[in-house]
């Protein structure tokens, strides 16, 4: 047993982080949030988010992600993929969450090998997840039933949303990759809070010297590390209850982390110019993907009634979906 990342995994994580820092650093993020206005555009700041143009997907970046193997990561080499596993995918999506990378990442990743062009990033794939579709209008291919889809005015400026009537059944891999994104966001808001707490001075000292701020940050880290263990383990085992646990804990780490980060930032965090709210809003969006918290909790409750270890000959009566069954 060695739960730590191996050298290849560390290199992969570093590579993705480097790519995203270079191609989707803070300036690009902010440019995506507030695209340069056409002259005479009437979108005054007084209209709450009103009239903001729908975000445009950066297709050049999308293809670069494809070339870097982001979408084909788990596709077997024989089919032109990178041939890696869920663990590596989780590391890549964690970085995407950290960078607030926009786009239907999970849907396109899941479509690799099934939808032509998805693996290479030439085709943008959206999908119904829960009762929502992200990036429907920008997508080349949409998976799931989107009959009568209704556009929302989305709370996250970088997540266009449509609502559909019929919920898609939750996909465990999608749930886990979403958890990985949440984890990355939670780790990032923890780091942002710590950075602010170290430098912002009030009452003659950095606010991070006050126990109240210190303890907020500590609890953020605890949530991150607990969620990280759960997400990584679920990537290794692929076990549905492990995935449900990972998702619950990562959702919580991301949402509460962004809130506590906002609290640490005080008024500054309440401004549009801060990145904190982007993490919070994205975390809210991701948390709405399937399965919802209630479904995960119910599945984990049922799991408690299952035999602790599956007998060698599985009678098929317990609710656990054995990997080998």
């Amino acid at each position: 047993m060695d739960f730590r990342l191996d050298d290849d995994q560390r290199a992969l994580r570093a590579g993705v982080r480097e790519l995203l820092t270079r191609r989707f650093g803070r300036e690009r993020l902010r440019a995506a949030v507030d695209p340069p206005r056409a002259a005479g555009a009437a979108d005054g700041p007084g209209r709450p988010g009103g009239g903001a143009p729908a975000p445009v997907l950066d297709r050049v970046l999308w293809r670069e992600l494809g070339e870097a193997g982001f979408f084909a990561l788990r596709l077997p080499r024989a089919r032109g993929g990178v041939g890696l596993g869920l663990a590596e995918a989780v590391l890549a999506f964690e970085e995407a969450g950290r960078a607030l990378l926009p786009g239907p990442l999970v849907a396109t990743h899941l479509a690799a090998g099934e939808v032509p062009g998805a693996a290479t990033g030439e085709c943008v794939v959206a999908a119904v997840d829960g009762t929502l579709v992200e990036w429907l209008e920008e997508a080349d291919v949409v998976r799931g039933d989107v009959t009568g889809a209704v556009a929302l005015r989305p709370v996250d400026p970088l997540t266009p949303l449509h609502r559909v009537d019929r919920a898609a059944p939750p996909d465990p891999v999608a749930a886990l990759l979403t958890a990985a994104e949440q984890l990355g966001s939670a780790a990032r808001t923890c780091a942002l809070a710590v950075q602010h707490a170290r430098t912002r001075e009030q009452f003659g000292q950095p606010i991070g010297a006050f126990q109240a701020v210190k303890h907020l940050c500590s609890e953020m880290l605890v949530r991150v590390e607990v969620a990280r263990s759960a997400v990584y383990a679920a990537a290794v085992t692929g076990d549905p209850p492990d995935i449900a646990a990972a998702r619950l804990l990562a959702d919580e780490a991301a949402e509460r982390g962004a809130r506590d980060c906002l609290q640490v930032h005080g008024g500054m965090g309440f401004t549009w110019e801060s990145d904190v709210h982007l993490h919070l809003k994205r975390a809210w969006c991701r948390a709405r993907r399937g399965p919802c918290a209630a479904q995960s909790e119910e599945a984990l409750a049922e799991d408690l009634l299952a035999p602790e270890e599956c007998p060698e000959e599985c009678p098929g009566e317990c609710p656990r979906e054995c990997p080998g069954a």
């Binding site: 700041p45 209209r47 709450p48 609290q263 309440f270 549009w272």
Partner: protein, 384 residues
């Protein structure tokens, strides 16, 4: 423990209801949030109606032109106007609730005569220049400086979180006049005319996407010495008179509104099927307990204020700690009730959820409030 109203209070309530029923249908349509001149005109118009009906400055002392009403009657006023859907105090907020009461308490006769009547009559708008980028929780660390030059103060620096700056006539401004004194002792309170040269107002966009606030940059702005309220370097004390002028009534309208939202949530949940989600339904039930209690705590604080003549203790911090938390929980629950539509900015509750995020930060973070409760009410020692 008497929660009933006196006959006089009941009569006051009845007349107010009558008046509201008569006057509200005739109001002009509400201006859009980004139409600042329209908002100014609308809010001043409403204030003028209040003035003409005898409701302006209800809680102000009579010698300042107010009605000298008891906190209880002020509570009734706030409760009934909210229930009737009357306009909010809006652009009149600083004038009626901060600058005006400060001038009433600390200003000279000429200052009171100059500034108070236009506030009551709905003729002039005030904004507040207290916070600075580096002086938030630690307000007394403010660095906007002013020096005397003849009969003027010359002010330079910047202020932040100023509402209605674009349309205000006056700004109640805190400036540092003695940089060498201990930080609370070198501050002065000035009334700055917003049309003075050297003032730049820049809208400050919040995470809700709106620009309710502004930054105000001051470059050698001249403010006559006669606009100073209180003594030079005594501005901190002058300001604290303002800040402690609350009577536990600061959030009356909001608590009434939250209770209405909670009922609307319940009906929405029943309509969309979420009512059958037992944990969510119980959560709404618990929020009902929460806001019922907050309403009672308001009544308690108002009763206390009535005894002490309108100056409450740190009890306001107790209320604010719980209310800011409860308000956030309310809108989190709203998002749960809405499900996917909880991500839709076209649902009013989504925008309200965003603005609720400021409640544990603005006007003293929850961390600061807990210090206040611990040190001023519980008597715990300050840390070294």
């Amino acid at each position: 423990m008497d929660l009933s109203c006196t006959p006089g209070d009941e009569e006051f309530r009845a007349r107010l209801r009558e008046w509201l029923a008569a006057v509200l249908p005739g109001l002009p349509p509400k201006p859009s949030p980004d139409d600042w001149p329209g908002r100014r005109a609308y809010d001043l118009g409403w204030q003028r109606l209040l003035y003409d009906a005898g409701y302006a400055g209800l809680h102000w002392p009579v010698d300042a032109g107010g009605r000298g009403a008891t906190p209880t009657r002020h509570l009734i006023f706030l409760e009934e106007t909210e229930k009737a859907g009357a306009p909010y105090v809006g652009a009149n907020f600083v004038g009626l609730l901060h600058a005006g009461p400060t001038i009433a308490a600390e200003g000279g006769a000429a200052q009171r005569a100059r500034w108070l009547p236009p506030v009551l009559r709905g003729e002039e708008v005030w904004c507040q220049g207290f916070s600075e980028p580096d002086a938030g929780s630690d307000l007394a660390a403010l660095r906007t400086r002013a020096h005397r030059d003849g009969d003027d103060y010359v002010v330079s620096g910047s202020k932040i979180w100023t509402s209605h700056a674009e349309v205000a006539d006056w700004c109640e401004l805190l400036v540092r006049t003695d940089p060498k004194a201990p930080k609370h002792r070198g501050i002065t309170w000035l009334a700055m005319p917003m049309d003075a040269p050297g003032i730049t107002v820049r809208p400050l966009r919040t995470l809700a996407g709106s620009a309710e606030f502004a930054e105000v940059f001051l470059d050698e702005v001249r403010v006559p010495v006669g606009n100073r309220v209180g003594e030079e370097n005594d501005g901190w004390r002058v300001t604290m008179v303002t800040l402690s002028f609350e009577r536990g009534t600061a959030f009356v309208g909001e608590v009434v509104a939250c209770r209405r939202v909670l009922r609307e949530l319940a009906y929405e949940a029943r309509a969309n099927g979420r009512w059958d989600d037992v944990p969510l339904r119980r959560r709404l039930g618990r929020l009902n307990a929460e806001f019922r209690a907050l309403w009672r705590l308001t009544q308690w604080n108002v009763s206390e204020a009535e005894r002490t003549g309108g100056v409450p203790g740190a009890g306001g911090s107790v209320f604010k700690l719980r209310y800011s938390q409860a308000r956030q929980e309310l809108y989190d629950a709203a998002a749960e009730v809405l499900g996917p539509d909880g991500l839709d900015l076209d649902r009013r509750w989504t925008a309200d959820r965003l603005s609720s995020l400021s409640y544990t930060i603005a006007a003293g973070t929850s961390q600061i409030q807990r210090n206040i409760v611990a040190e001023r009410i519980l008597g715990l020692p300050k840390g070294r």
